[in-house]
Chain length 326, copies 2
């Protein structure tokens, strides 16, 4: 459907294929917030994903090799995956080291949880090469160290679905309280318009206070969305995908947003909105044909306004970070 | 356990027992808000309930007979059940009338949905004597007319569980969007301290704006509570029964509140809080023995501070308004 999507689908030949104990993982992109669930809900996409290879080394420390074109730092202290691997080694009390090879398959800054994919992939990869010693909560805590480096905030709404798959609720960060909700058989269409929205800007423009009456509407929708996922009631999911607090402000940063949302829903999408802090926009549909036409509409709108864009038609990942098989 | 509770349990002899087509209903008390779900969540109690008898009359209009001591108006235009019955007759296009006999079995102003019990009971009763002509949404719309008379606001968080039973979500009032969530097998302990908290006062002291960070905590808890009810995860229900927005303000109007909450949780209650706008306080427990000791604690605290009180140990009603069988 797009160049990026085609390049994304290209075959990956693991560099560490022959290395004993090496693991090759795919770490999926994720959609945080899910419109009304700001900071508490997220889901994992089957595609796109990053690929990460790990092996234990006799020399201590972390070695990072980037196999992509994004020039991310290779100093482990400055790399999202790096800080997670260092923390994992320390927590394990290991005198060994870890080598990681990273191929990010779509551009960072998409609003699709690029840093979470690195952080969660690193936590799971470290756990595998160290002999599965960490609990799920520990994996999430480790991965949050990476999110902190990337965004300045320890948030978990991308990391959690990335690690667990499906739709997840982060009821609380302190103490960590993670609830897997469901893995509905829905199709997800994502458009990534190639504009820059900084997470910090997207957070700064939010108002610190909200009207109680708006908050009540919002929590009705959140409750409806959670109930919809758990009852597998797609119409309820659709009705609940409304955000009266964050979207009206953040969507200003995303040209074409209102038109995309309106036309995609007219074409049969259940609903959708900004992915994370944007600029990507996601839409949920009950069948692949609708998801495809929704993708065509997104492409048309961004082509028309002259913004380079990539469109993905995918499903909700049921497993999250998992083995990569060519 | 208390005088009111004993008097509540007394046998009721229907006045219209011999009258053809007459129906005798029990209309349960309800707990709105459920701590974190202000204006959107509610549950129905198995007890206490009001008893209402209905029959169709050949003469038009509504006749109200109160069998209790609370001196509620008998002018149908000024009576919560009355306005609902008038609206039901009009909606049905009926030239007949309805006679209703009402025995409220606990005092109005408890925070346990007294007006909703009258309004919902009237809607269901009218529907029965008119031949089951209304849909559930229509019953709720009719009953909201009674709530409007009582409180000035068309709210549905007591009416909906009263009519449907179980735990219900009101995702939206305009348009009406009602979602039955679950009917968990939990025990509910309620204390009704005999002090007056006016719903209008309890609403007026709320702040019109809330901090976004508090709203985020609140919607995490709401999502957790909904997921807890649907997964039947009692620990999650307990963890989610926290309110950082409404309770800290409203609990000031209820002496003893903090002590009741703390000691009941120490005694094993999952959690709980203000019922509706108070003054009643409810606590959920997984077994009857805990629910009983929670009740003893409530009684002790209010006896100690010299506030007359009534305690109920009950369950969640699975059916809502239903036939009264002696």
């Amino acid at each position: 459907m797009s160049n990026e999507q085609e390049s994304f689908s290209k075959k990956y030949s693991p560099s560490l294929a022959g290395s004993p104990g090496a693991v090759v993982l795919k770490s999926p992109r994720t959609v945080a917030n899910l419109v009304c669930g700001f900071d508490i809900l997220g889901l994992a996409l089957a595609e796109p994903y990053d690929i990460m290879e790990f092996r234990l080394t006799d020399e201590a420390g972390v070695t990072i090799i980037n196999r992509d074109e994004y020039n991310l730092p290779t100093d482990p202290e400055k790399n999202v995956a790096g800080v997670v691997l260092l923390a994992a080694l320390e927590k394990a009390g290991s005198t060994k080291g870890i080598e990681v090879i990273i191929e990010k398959r779509i551009k960072p800054g998409s609003g699709l949880g690029s840093s979470a994919a690195s952080a969660a992939g690193a936590a799971v990869g470290a756990n595998k090469v160290l002999g599965n010693i960490f609990s799920t909560d520990e994996l999430i805590q480790l991965a949050m160290i990476g999110e902190k480096l990337a965004t300045g905030v320890k948030h978990a709404d991308n990391i959690t679905p990335c690690i667990l798959g499906g739709v997840t609720l982060i009821r609380s960060i302190h103490p960590l309280d993670i609830i897997p909700l469901a893995s509905p058989d829905l199709f997800v269409t994502v458009v990534h318009p190639q504009i820059e929205v900084r997470t910090s800007d997207a957070r700064q423009i939010l108002r610190k206070q909200v009207f109680l009456k708006d908050a009540i509407k919002q929590w009705g929708n959140i409750a409806g969305l959670v109930a919809g996922f758990m009852k597998n009631d797609t119409e309820l999911i659709g009705r609940s995908l409304e955000d009266v607090i964050i979207e009206p402000i953040r969507s200003i940063l995303i040209p074409g947003f209102d038109e995309v949302k309106l036309k995609c829903k007219e074409a049969g999408a259940l609903g959708g909105g900004i992915s994370g802090s944007g600029p990507s926009i996601f839409m949920l549909s009950t069948d692949r044909a609708t998801a495809q036409s929704v993708g065509n509409i997104m492409k048309e709108i961004y082509d028309k306004i002259g913004v380079e864009n990539n469109v993905y038609v995918t499903t909700i990942s049921k497993e999250g970070v998992g083995s990569y098989n060519n």
